[in-house]
């Protein structure tokens, strides 16, 4: 009787897994089929065009890559620094706890709200304009809570005994954090950071709000340049009435997915490599 019930439950769980997975596979297959005819090296190295068959994703690809690097450059120092403060120094104080609650809430704020904030603060108030740096700053703000939360988790996983060992050797708190705690937490911090960046690169709404350009025929020549990004490019193609552009959009989606898959694979690799090396 109970074995039978077990079987039913197993089947139910398997179905719960198979259904969404099936939908995903179907969607991806559909996109792949639709985009296959456009996928070629030329697609990756061409600028957008009125003619669907000549259009490519080069500015979007470059824009997304630059956004990724700049977002990481902005979000990591602030995020990791904030996490170290909250986890290692601010531990039990009331302000730290208030910040903690707020950070957790910030992670749940819709991304378009960050877009509006970026438009008001970076584009207008700071006068950065609709530039790459304004986009990167907005995305950095968006993923900051994620970086903080994942870094704190990585720091918390470092056994207390290691900190005590460092302090008992006559090291200061900072010396202990830098030489003992951070190296031990590095794989976790890095994994979280890569996942946060891949989340940022998939964002469309905040970039549209701060004014990323869809049609651009040159590459950004500096942080103040106008820019586009892969999701923006895809979004603009999808909204075109001509059927031919649907193929472009599908091909763009495939490129985007491959990029994100690559980043996530890197995250898995980093985690595996380090967890095999160091023993805990």
């Amino acid at each position: 009787m109970s074995a039978r019930r077990d079987l039913w439950f197993t089947l139910l769980c398997a179905a719960a897994l198979a259904l969404p997975l099936g939908v995903l596979v179907f969607l991806f297959g559909d996109v792949l089929l639709l985009g296959l005819e456009r996928l070629s090296p030329a697609f990756l190295t061409s600028y957008p065009s009125r003619h669907a068959e000549h259009a490519g994703v080069l500015p979007g690809l470059v824009g997304t890559a630059l956004l990724g690097v700049m977002t990481a450059g902005l979000a990591l120092p602030f995020g990791v620094g904030a996490a170290i403060y909250l986890e290692e120094y601010g531990g039990n104080r009331r302000i730290a706890r208030a910040i903690e609650v707020n950070v957790a809430n910030l992670a749940g704020v819709p991304s378009v709200v960050y877009g509006i904030l970026g438009l008001a603060v970076f584009v207008k108030t700071l006068g950065l304009g609709r530039s790459l740096i304004a986009g990167a700053a907005t995305l950095a703000l968006l993923v900051l809570p994620i970086v903080i939360v994942s870094t704190r988790e990585a720091l918390r996983a470092v056994p207390m005994g290691l900190r005590e060992a460092g302090l008992a050797l006559g090291a200061t708190r900072w010396q202990t954090i830098r030489r003992v705690v951070l190296p031990a937490a590095a794989p976790g911090i890095l994994t979280g950071a890569i996942l946060a960046i891949s989340r940022a690169l998939g964002e469309t709404a905040p970039l549209i709000v701060i004014g990323a350009v869809a049609y651009i025929t040159y590459l950004p020549d500096g942080p103040r340049a106008a820019f586009t990004a892969l999701p923006i490019q895809i979004f603009s193609w999808v909204s075109r009435p001509q059927a031919a552009f649907a193929h472009n959009a599908a091909a763009g989606i495939v490129v985007m997915l491959l990029l994100l898959l690559l980043l996530n694979a890197a995250a898995v690799l980093v985690r595996d490599r380090f967890s095999r090396g160091g023993s805990r």
């Binding site: 531990g91 039990n92 056994p159 005994g161 290691l162 005590e164 060992a165 460092g166 302090l167 008992a168 050797l169 006559g170 090291a171 200061t172 010396q175 202990t176 030489r179 003992v180 190296p183 031990a184 090396g277 160091g278 023993s279 805990r280």
Partner: protein, 275 residues
């Protein structure tokens, strides 16, 4: 084949005689967490180059007491300390004492072996010097190698690891890891070594090796050994202090404390009536 530990000479009972200078003097020490007192008005002398064992049931304040001796206790949020601890007649709780510098004079070995997982055996030994920046510039490679060899030799680990100094510290067995932690503490050249139940995570053979080691180390260092194992206290120490509910019940030469305890509660504890 594992060689039986060499027979050890019984600990001398001359430890408390007047000629041995006092290295650490605990005076009316109070310690606790928030409003909860853990150690109460405790006064105790640790003679130089002797082993003082601290015994007592779980929760009696043994660990808190030793953590007050190198000012580790105050790192716990909400920790409170009162009274004084004199190291060479100078109060370590005085305003002008930097706890970070103090901890280089008073080393500590913890209950659970805690080698740094991201460092090799060699780097673990040098960790204290590197962390504090003592190795920056100046010293040459042979000198550094000498520090590593000396610390590992004193911790009775050199022969077992000399061919794989680059291996990860975590690759050693539990007992070896604990001796590595002892080597790491010794490399900083402390005067006092605090050992907080250093054998509680180890098997009997590894425990015997550490106890042998304690015997050798007492020629150079003043050792405070916290243990919940009365046999270990009897084997490894010159003096034993019995703590109960945060108060010092009795402190005497080990042999006398275990054969003719002067307090009824000590007798009940060492004969196994409670604890």
């Amino acid at each position: 084949m594992i060689a039986a530990p060499a027979p050890r000479a019984p600990p001398t009972t001359t430890a408390a005689d007047a000629t041995t200078p006092v290295k650490l003097a605990v005076r009316a020490l109070d310690a606790g967490f928030g409003a909860t007192p853990v150690v109460r008005q405790l006064t105790l002398d640790v003679p130089e180059r002797r082993v003082l064992a601290i015994i007592g049931p779980s929760g009696c304040g043994k660990s808190t007491l030793v953590r007050c001796l190198n000012r580790m206790h105050e790192l716990v949020p909400g920790a409170t300390v009162g009274g004084s601890v004199l190291l060479d007649d100078h109060d370590i709780y005085a305003r002008d004492v930097d706890p970070v510098l103090l901890r280089r004079r008073i080393g500590m070995v913890f209950q659970k072996p805690n080698p740094f997982p991201t460092m090799s055996i060699r780097e673990n030994v040098l960790a204290g010097l590197r962390l504090t920046g003592a190795l920056r510039g100046g010293r040459k490679q042979p000198a550094i190698d000498g520090i590593v060899e000396q610390a590992l030799t004193r911790a009775a680990l050199w022969d077992e690891v000399k061919d794989r100094l680059a291996a990860a510290g975590g690759s050693l067995s539990g007992g070896q890891q604990q001796r590595l932690c002892i080597a790491r503490a010794l490399a900083v050249e402390p005067e006092v070594l605090l050992m907080d139940e250093p054998c509680s995570a180890l098997d009997p053979i590894a425990t015997a090796r550490i106890e042998d080691l304690i015997h050798v180390l007492r020629e150079r260092y003043t050792i405070v050994l916290v243990t919940h194992n009365m046999q270990q206290a009897a084997r490894a120490s010159d003096l034993t202090a019995f703590l109960l509910h945060g108060e010092l019940i009795e402190c005497a030469p080990t042999e006398r404390l275990f054969t003719q305890p002067s307090d009824r509660r000590t007798e009940d504890y060492i004969t196994g009536k409670f604890g």
